[in-house]
């Protein structure tokens, strides 16, 4: 079911650019808008089946999965159509016997029959399934082209571009140090609950991200390197792992949303921050507990989390759907939002670790150095100093005590 580059270029019509734009815009809309609205947005990019340049009929398998073939399909012919092989109640809905003229399948097949097949008319099958009678779902070809030629190609370029940008930024700007060095005093930044929710999402992000990237890019990137057999193994493992960890992501991102909601509303100060470029290119930008970038990352994560969760659930149970169309749509939405999520997530991970001194400990130990807080969240720091509570004092004590130096010897 692969398309060679030659074929692919043939598939591309002059309208392709428009469609591409539509898909990208639709994907973005998905990320931001609510789910129901999003479906419509992307659905509008659905084009009529490609015409004459379509490849020969193949049985299209949804989701690129390694699921076994959908099962035997019995096209109606005289020997079975009138017989009693089919138990009552197992007939499929929709047009039955779409090729009455067909006498001997495979020999006397007519143009009409194949047109019927090609247009997705259903036949009769011997086991209960709404769809198994469909020999060719032509929209699947559309989906496949979009997935492989648009989402995967440009998604890959976007991700590589972001990595490149980060590398360039690191080379130019270097690690953002704490101005004036560490004060040695710390203040609490994230509660234990927040940290647990964050790292749960982060752990799943890595597991799902790696397996998902293998599923999306593996065939073009990995398979040529490791060979078909090894890739079959890796792909099988990735799919199973991805399906398994996916559902845990939903409660995790939900917990993240609830625990981090407070303080993530936008304000005027965010505009000023944005104008100053967040201090990323020098200078100082004031901010409360979360700056514009963090807030946007929060809301983007939530929006993309919703799309990923909803489309993910659809993809876990494709057979429960009325037809393939929704699963194909869900697959594209899943891939587009995942690419965005991973792309922005790379930037987040960069700033949270090597990109900025003193940032990681906020999420690891829950406390940050006072000078770090003054550098990056001055308004929050001042507010904290004004209303330092007993709890905060305790947290500071705990944080100070857990400093590695203090624990040397007393620890293991």
């Amino acid at each position: 079911m692969t398309v060679s580059p030659m074929e692919a270029s043939r598939v591309r019509s002059p309208r392709m650019k428009e469609r591409l734009l539509g898909i990208v815009l639709g994907g973005l809309a998905l990320a931001v808008a609510s789910l129901s609205g999003a479906w419509t947005a992307v659905a509008q990019t659905q084009a009529p089946p490609p015409g004459a340049s379509a490849p020969p009929p193949v049985i299209s398998q949804p989701g690129g999965s390694v699921r076994p073939p959908a099962g035997a399909v019995n096209l109606p012919d005289q020997t079975t159509a009138g017989g009693s092989v089919r138990p009552p109640g197992m007939s499929v809905e929709g047009p039955v016997g779409f090729a009455p003229a067909a006498k001997k399948l495979g020999h006397d097949s007519t143009t009409d029959l194949w047109r019927g097949v090609r247009e997705g008319q259903g036949g009769n099958v011997v086991f209960p399934s709404r769809e198994a009678g469909i020999l060719i779902q032509s929209e699947g070809e559309d989906w496949r082209v979009r997935r492989n030629e648009i989402v995967a190609r440009y998604g890959g370029q976007i991700l590589l571009g972001i990595l490149g940008l980060l590398a360039v930024y690191f080379l130019v700007r270097g690690r953002i140090r704490i101005s004036g060095g560490r004060s040695g005093r710390v203040i609490p930044r994230f509660t234990l609950g927040q940290r647990i929710a964050h790292w749960m999402v982060a752990a799943l992000f890595v597991l799902l991200g790696v397996s998902g990237l293998i599923l999306l890019f593996g065939k073009s990137v990995l398979m040529p390197v490791i060979g078909k057999e090894a890739f079959a193994l890796v792909a099988s493992a990735s799919l199973q792992g991805h399906n398994l960890f996916g559902p845990i992501f939903i409660p995790a991102i939900l917990a993240l949303f609830v625990l981090f909601l407070r303080g993530n509303g936008y304000g005027l100060v965010d505009l000023k921050w944005l104008v100053k470029g967040g201090g990323l290119f020098g200078g100082h930008a004031s901010s409360h507990k979360y700056n514009f970038g963090e807030k946007t990352w929060f809301w983007l994560s939530v929006a993309l989390g919703i799309v990923l969760s909803a489309s993910g659930v659809v993809l876990l149970f494709p057979d429960a759907l009325a037809d393939r169309a929704l699963a194909q749509l869900a697959n594209l939405a899943h891939a587009i939002s995942a690419v965005l999520f991973i792309g922005v997530g790379l930037g987040h991970a960069y700033l949270g670790t090597i990109g900025m001194e003193g940032a990681l400990e906020g999420m690891a130990r829950g406390t940050v150095d006072e000078n770090w807080a003054k550098d990056h969240h001055d308004l929050w720091y001042e507010e904290h100093k004004r209303q330092a509570t007993t709890d905060a004092r305790m947290a500071e004590v705990r944080a100070a005590a857990v400093g590695d130096a203090a624990l040397r010897g007393a620890g293991s």
């Binding site: 705990r398 005590a401 624990l407 010897g409 293991s412």
Partner: protein, 434 residues
Amino acid sequence: MTDMPGSIAPDNRPVDVAAAVAKMEALIGSHLGSYLDACVHCGQCAQACHFHEATQDPRHTPALKLQPMTRVWRRTKAPFAGLRKALGLAPELTEQDLRDFEPLIFDTCTMCARCTVVCPMAIDVASVVAATRQAFVAAGLGPPDLLQAADNARDKGSPLGVTAQVLEDRCEWLADEHETEIPLDKPKAEVLLTISSIELMKYPDSVVAMAKLLNYAGVDWTLSSKGYESTNFGVLSGKGDVAKIAVNRIVEAAESIGVRTVVIPECGHAYGVMRWSGANILGRPLPFEVVHITEYLAALKRQGRLAFAPYAKSAVTYHDPCQISRRGGATADARYLLDGFATDFREMTPTGNYNWCCGGGGGVQAMARAADVRHEVFRIKMAQVEATGAPALVSACANCRLTMDESKAALGWDKELLSIVEILADNLVPKRAA
């Protein structure tokens, strides 16, 4: 902010690591070994420890206090110890370890066993700490004042220097002053009463109260100048020899008088040591029964030999001494005594076997350098008492009482601290009326 224990000034005490290792090796049995093996580092015990809760310092996690002994166990007696040692996977216990852990093993553990309740493995950290203290003392470490108290007990008969002569003088004075009989060195008696020198020197009224109650009930009792001190600073400080001397004195006195019962006064660890460890320290079963004063008074009350006028002065709450309730098993008797006596009795939360420690058990009371952290710990008790609304707190341990009195003064707290034997003795129904 209080100074954290752990900031002991550098000192030049010589440390004999080998002696510590040998002591631990000798003391670790299957039970301690199973504790050291079973800990999964879950950290739940932290929330049960008043030192951790008061300071939020992770070093005060009880499970951390298992580490010195775990280190020795893994190198010596544990299964696969030889393999571990050969592969270099079992680091030695070092002098630095001992110095680092000294404040954790002594200053910030009252051996109250609250952590055992919360531990999913039910590890008895208190017994590991008790054994570890012995090893530390063998190495030449330990808080000087606590060790001095133990030496006083060995040399003078009491940690506070109450010699037999002081005992005699004070008892005579108390008996005169309070017009009650305090028999000393009766040749034969049914009951040997012991006292805590904290009571005799700081709360003498409680000695008088015990005398009055026993006299009222017509008990054939006596004090003995051969064995009067019930506290055992040998156990608290980890000096095994002193522990044995202290137990021996009482056993010899009891045997010479031929008593059936030895009564432990208001002192938590004295009860725990004599009731549950006495025979083991001695190496043979005790030839008498050991009861706490609350147990003994409860028995007398059940027999109808004590009659009290109701205590209606104020609402009261009861502080369970850890070694009498949780680690002693005598939780119910204090309540039996208060039942029908204290007209407005209010339980704290938590209470009974799950009660918070006062902060001064396990000899911590006697360590001057632990005073600040002890006061921080006392805030937990203050909050507990205040939640009941009772203006008075009754207890059955002079050590708890002294700890709480000191913290009360240091923190300027306004609640009243009472002794259960004192309020009972004060409210005995006069004999003629009874």
